[in-house]
Structure formats: structure tokens, C-alpha cells
């Protein structure tokens, strides 16, 4: 009985997550369209609101193409793996659906799980046996691995203030008005840039440089498999916004309230706004940004905070 209720609860969570990802794509299309002085999707149903539902239905009922030269099993496994890793990261978030999972070292677990994302990209790029997919995968993997170092160090410098590996306690240990974002503004900006790069978002979406590589590591994917990769990408973006709201803006990781929603939505909108505003970065500039700027900055900040703790 307990097991069935847990199953139903987690299925509800996953369903809501998939829906939110769908509507996030709709918001993205709308924001981008208004930034470019045009109207976005406004035909389907009432004001184009059911557009993502129609898209999902289309994608999942499309015929799946079997690519002759691809490594069939790995090619099919990688989207599933990507989506399941995304869902596992979301299990860290204490919604009413998973009240029973109390994870003490949740930030540690987040670092561990998020580093697994690289493998799905690598697998999907390599297993489709296409030059463009492979090149896109190599770019994405190099970028993600490089930015993971600065991400870990930035998380560490936040943990040096909160002195805890728990998300909830990290948000509790922040001041009610002076959030982590305000007392460490430099680290906050570095964190946002790192998160943009970590989720392969624009202006760091070198993985899908449109002129050189058609669509990056997921060229060969169509229909439901593409939809799964897409859901994984956007779900991880939404999780990153929640994480930022918790670590930097004193968001609550345990209960859902209005201020938390406002924080998450502002951050999610920032991701779209950045995409609408900035041009894509050059690849060497991207790499030197993390290895020459962020690495030094984060090491300095970690050293500074360690000394601050010991004074």
C-alpha cells in the first residue's frame, strides 16, 4: 500500500515536471518572439497555450527512424538515460510528492548526479555514428567538464558560509534580507554564467553551433527520442534555477510558497532573456573564461572564505 502511494506520488511529480518543461518551452518561444518584435505561437487553442501539448503529441506519435549505421542499443539508451538522470536530480527537491526522502548531503548528491550528464551527451553523440553529432558531442563534453570544476568550487565557497551540505540548511543559514547573492555578488555572477555554460544554454551553446554543426549531438535523433533529450535538457535548466534560488536567494527547498515561485520564475526568465540578448561566444573565449578567469576567481574566493572562517 505504501509502495503504491509512493509510486503514484512520484509519477505525479514526474508528470508535473514534464508539463512544466513543456510550458517552459512555450514561455521561451514567446519571450524570444517578443524580443524580436514578432508574435510567437498564438494559433493552437486559446492564445496558443496548448501548443506544447500538441508538440509533445506530435513528437511522441511520429515514426521512429532506425539509422542503419548507429549503434542501435546505445543510441536508444542515451535519451532514456538523460531523462532518468534529470528525474533523479529532481528527487532531491522536497515536493509534497517525496516528503519521505530526507537527504542530508543533498548538495553533494547534486554534484555527483549532475556530473553524470556528460555521459549521456557523449553516448548520444558517439552512438549515432555521424561526424556532426560526434563533433557536437565533443564540444559539449569539453565545455561541461571544464565548467564543472568552477561549479564545484563555487558551490564550495557557498558551503563555506553555510557550513552544511544540506540544501534546506543552506537556505536557512542566509540572512532574511542580505541573501548570499548580495553578500557575494561576484560569486553570484560567476555562478549564473557557469550555470548557463553547464546546461549548454545560449550564449554558450557551442554544442549546437548552427552554421558549423547542424544541431550538435542530437542531429540524428527524431520523434520521441529527441523529445526525451529535450525534456532532459530543459528539466535540468529548471532544476538549476531552483538550486540557484535556494543557494543564492534564500529560497526554501522544502516547501513551495509564492516567494519561492517568484524567485524561480525570475531566474528562469533570466535564462531566456540572456538567450534573447547575447550573441554566441567564440569557443576559445569560452574555454579561457573558465580556465583563466573563473578558476582563479573561485580558488581566490575559497581561500578567502576559509581564512574568514578561521579568523
Amino acid at each position: 500500500m505504501m509502495m503504491i502511494s509512493t509510486l503514484i506520488k512520484s509519477l505525479t511529480l514526474f508528470l508535473c515536471l514534464a508539463l512544466s518543461v513543456g510550458f517552459y518551452t512555450l514561455v521561451e518561444r514567446k519571450v524570444l518572439s517578443y524580443a524580436q518584435l514578432r508574435k510567437g505561437p498564438n494559433k493552437a487553442g486559446f492564445l496558443g497555450i496548448p501548443q506544447p501539448l500538441a508538440d509533445a503529441m506530435k513528437l511522441f506519435t511520429k515514426e521512429t527512424t532506425k539509422i542503419q549505421k548507429s549503434m542501435f542499443i546505445l543510441y536508444n539508451i542515451s535519451p532514456v538515460l538523460a531523462t532518468s538522470i534529470m528525474f533523479i536530480t529532481w528527487m532531491l527537491y522536497n515536493t509534497p510528492a517525496n516528503q519521505n526522502t530526507i537527504i542530508k548531503l543533498s548538495i553533494m548528491l547534486f554534484i555527483v548526479i549532475s556530473s553524470l550528464n556528460v555521459y549521456t551527451i557523449m553516448l548520444s553523440g558517439w552512438a549515432s555514428n555521424s561526424k556532426y553529432a560526434l563533433l557536437g558531442a565533443i564540444r559539449a563534453v569539453a565545455q561541461t567538464i571544464s565548467y564543472e570544476i568552477s561549479m564545484a568550487l563555487l558551490i564550495m565557497s557557498i558551503l563555506l558560509i553555510s557550513l552544511n551540505f544540506n540544501m534546506e540548511k543552506t537556505s536557512i543559514s542566509q540572512m532574511p534580507t542580505l541573501w548570499m547573492m548580495f553578500i557575494l555578488p561576484l560569486i553570484f555572477s560567476a555562478w549564473m554564467i557557469t550555470m548557463l555554460a553547464e546546461t549548454n544554454r545560449s550564449p554558450f551553446d557551442l554544442a549546437e553551433g548552427e552554421s558549423e554543426l547542424v544541431s550538435g549531438f542530437n542531429i540524428e535523433y527524431g520523434s520521441g527520442e529527441f523529445a526525451l533529450l529535450f525534456i532532459a535538457e530543459y528539466g535540468s535548466i529548471l532544476f538549476v534555477t531552483v538550486l540557484t534560488a535556494t543557494l543564492m536567494l534564500k529560497g526554501s527547498f522544502n516547501t513551495i510558497n509564492l516567494t519561492q515561485m517568484v524567485k524561480i520564475m525570475t531566474l528562469a526568465f533570466t535564462f531566456l532573456w540572456v538567450r534573447a540578448t547575447f550573441p554566441r561566444m567564440r569557443y576559445d573565449a569560452l574555454m579561457s573564461l573558465t580556465w583563466k578567469t573563473f578558476l582563479t576567481l573561485t580558488i581566490c574566493s575559497v581561500t578567502m572564505l576559509i581564512t574568514h572562517n578561521n579568523i
Binding site: M1, K169, S173, M175, F182, I183, L305
Partner: protein
Amino acid sequence: MSSYHQDMPPKGGYAPFEYAKQYKPRWIKGKWVFLGFAVYTTIGLQLQKRYYYNYVTLPELENREANIALEPLLLAENNRLFLKQLVKNREDEKKIMKDVPGWVPGTFYGEPVFHQKGVYMKPSREEYYAHTDYDKGYYRHLMERHYH
């Protein structure tokens, strides 16, 4: 005699022309920005440290003190629950084995199960929960927390 004269460069020659990009003079110098940042961060970190001590460390210490103070009570409650369940088990055994001739609860045909050579052995977990209702999940959870 002509009314015009030859155009000549101004006395002392032309001024050197600007070919490089002209930057606006910065309204604040870099070192002042850095100093301001340092002061800001120091004050922020000090405030954060004070807040952390008052609202995280002190409550934690208080909770720990309270837990230490409550420890004997909790232990006693724990023991009481355990003993209550043992009594319940004995009653259940009596009720179940009442048709077996010569059966004494707590023994196996005259051989004591829980007192072996003068040493008391706790019942195993399976034995302890043998007569409880499995479906009463909450109750079971509570008891499992208090076992041992």
C-alpha cells in the same frame, strides 16, 4: 595682384591627429572599485557570521542541550514500549498455544528460549514483530524506531 593667398599650415604645424580609439576617462579608478568591493564583502561576511551564530549555531546548541536533558526520559519511554510489546507477545503466545498441553510461554517444550544459562537474550526482530499487523504501517514504523 591677386586677392587670395596660398593656404599654408598653421604656425607650428598641425596638431597630431588621433588615429587610436579614444576612451572615456573612467569616473572611478580600479583600485577604488577593488577597495569598495573588499569593504562591502568584509562587512557582509561579518554580518553573515553574526547571523549564523545567532540563528543557526545557538539554536543547534540549545537543541543539543535539550536532547541531552531529555535522553533519560526518551530511554525510559523506549524501554517501556519494548516491554509493553513483550507483554503483548506473551499474551498472544498464551492465546495461540492454549490447546497445546504443557506449553509454557517463553519456553520451547520446557527449554527456556530467552533465558539461556542465566543470560537474557533479546527476541530476534522477526520474533518481536511476529504477532503485529503488517499493514499498520505507521505503527510498525514507530515500533521499529524504538526497537533496540
